[in-house]
Symmetry: C2
Subunit: 219 residues, 2 copies
C-alpha cells in the first residue's frame, strides 16, 4: 500500500513508515550512550537492514547525512519524530476494556509515540465507572457524542469480534476518521474511514503454519 | 513473503494465510446460524473481498466448491482448521509478564487457534511464583532448560525492548524455532530461526501518519 503524503505530494511506502520507529528506537539508544553521529552502514549492521534502504527511508523525513560524518543523532531523532507527528499528540478513544484493552490503556510508551488514549468505553456494568490503568471506563452509549464534542478522530477497538461492527458504527457516527481494529473481523465502514487491522489470529496463522512446515522438514 | 509448504511443495502467499482466519470466523458465524452452504460471492459481499480471491485462497486448503451449491460450511471450517494446524496444538512459552503479556496469557481464544501458552517467565521477583491468568510465572533463568525438556518450539516475547534480545538468545539456546516478537526492536537471531514481529509502534506510525494526512487535507 502506498500512502500519499499531502505535505510533499509524494507517496510514502508503508514499509518505510513501519521501519522509522525501529530507527528511532535505535537512535535513542545511541543518544543515551552519548553518541553524536551515526552512519547508515553502522545502522544497517546493527539492525540487520540494507544501508541503502536505510538512507532512502531517512531521506523521506527530509534529512540527509553528511559524507564521512553520517547523521547527527539528535537531528535525526527530531526529524523522525516530527515526520511521524509524535510531537503533535493524537487523542484516541478505546472501546472494549478486556485484557487487551487494559494492556493498551497501560502502554505508557504510546504517549511518546504521539498517542494519548483519553477515555475507555465498555458495555459491561461491572466495568463502567471503574478506573483501569488510571482511565475511567465510561458507557459505550456515550462514546459517539463525546467523540464529537472532544474532536477525537481516532478510535481503538479491542472488543470481542461480535461487538466490533457495532462499535465501529458508533465511532463513525461520532466523527471518528481512523480506526485501529484489534478485533478479528473485517469491519464494514464508509469508504473515507481509515481502518488498520491488527489481527493477532491472522499473524498467528502465518507463524504457526511456518513453524509447522519447519518442524515437518526437521523430522 | 512467500512461504513454502513442504506438504504440497507449492508456495503459500502470506496474504492468503492472513485471510484464512477471517473466513473461518465468518463460517463459524454461518454455522451457528444453521447455514449449510455458502458461495464465494456471498462471502465476498459480506467480507468486502473479491470472490475470485476468496476462491483461490480456499483452494489452497485443498477444498473446492460445487457449482450452484458452493461450499459445505462444516467441510470448509474443517479444511481451514486442518490447513492452519489448529487441530494440532502448538505449545508456547511467553516471556515478559507485563500488561501485554498478561493480556496474551488471558486470550482464551488462542486455544481454538492452535496455540497453548503453557508457561510464563519473568525476571521480576514480585511476579515469580504468582499466577497470572491461571498460569504460574517462573524465573526466566529456567526458560531455556524447560523449553528443551518440554520440546517447546514457539516463544512469545512481550518484554520491554531493552530485554528482548537477551530473552531471544535464551529462547534460541532452549531450542525454540519460532519467535513471536511483540517488543519494538529488530532481534538478531541465527538464520534458521523464524521471527515474526508484531510491532504496535510501527502500526501506530502508519496509522497516525495516514490520519494526520487526512486531517490536514480536511482543513
Amino acid at each position: 500500500m502506498m500512502i500519499t503524503d499531502s505535505d510533499q505530494a509524494r507517496p510514502i511506502p508503508e514499509p518505510t513508515l513501519r521501519r522509522l520507529p525501529t530507527y528511532h528506537h535505535f537512535l535513542k539508544t545511541l543518544e543515551a550512550e552519548g553518541r553524536e553521529a551515526v552512519s547508515c552502514s553502522t545502522m544497517g549492521r546493527e539492525l540487520n537492514l540494507d544501508p541503502t534502504q536505510i538512507r532512502k527511508d531517512l531521506a523521506m523525513t527530509g534529512i540527509t547525512g553528511r559524507p564521512k560524518i553520517g547523521y547527527v543523532v539528535t537531528d535525526l531523532i527530531g526529524a523522525i519524530e516530527s515526520f511521524l507527528g509524535w510531537n503533535d499528540i493524537q487523542q484516541a478513544f478505546l472501546a472494549g476494556v478486556g485484557n487487551l484493552g487494559a494492556a493498551l490503556l497501560g502502554y505508557q510508551q504510546f504517549n511518546r509515540y504521539g498517542l494519548d488514549i483519553v477515555a475507555a468505553f465498555d458495555t459491561d456494568e461491572a466495568k463502567i465507572g471503574r478506573q483501569v490503568q488510571g482511565k475511567e471506563v465510561m458507557p459505550l452509549s456515550k462514546m459517539a457524542d463525546l467523540a464529537r464534542r472532544m474532536h477525537v478522530h481516532l478510535g481503538i477497538i479491542t472488543t470481542p469480534a461480535e461487538h466490533a461492527q457495532y462499535v465501529a458504527d458508533q465511532m463513525v457516527a461520532g466523527g471518528i476518521e481512523a480506526i485501529w481494529n484489534f478485533a478479528p473481523i473485517v469491519l464494514s465502514t464508509p469508504e473515507h474511514i481509515i481502518v488498520q487491522d491488527e489481527d493477532l489470529f491472522s499473524s498467528l496463522a502465518v507463524l504457526s503454519r511456518r513453524l509447522r512446515t519447519r518442524l515437518q522438514a526437521m523430522q
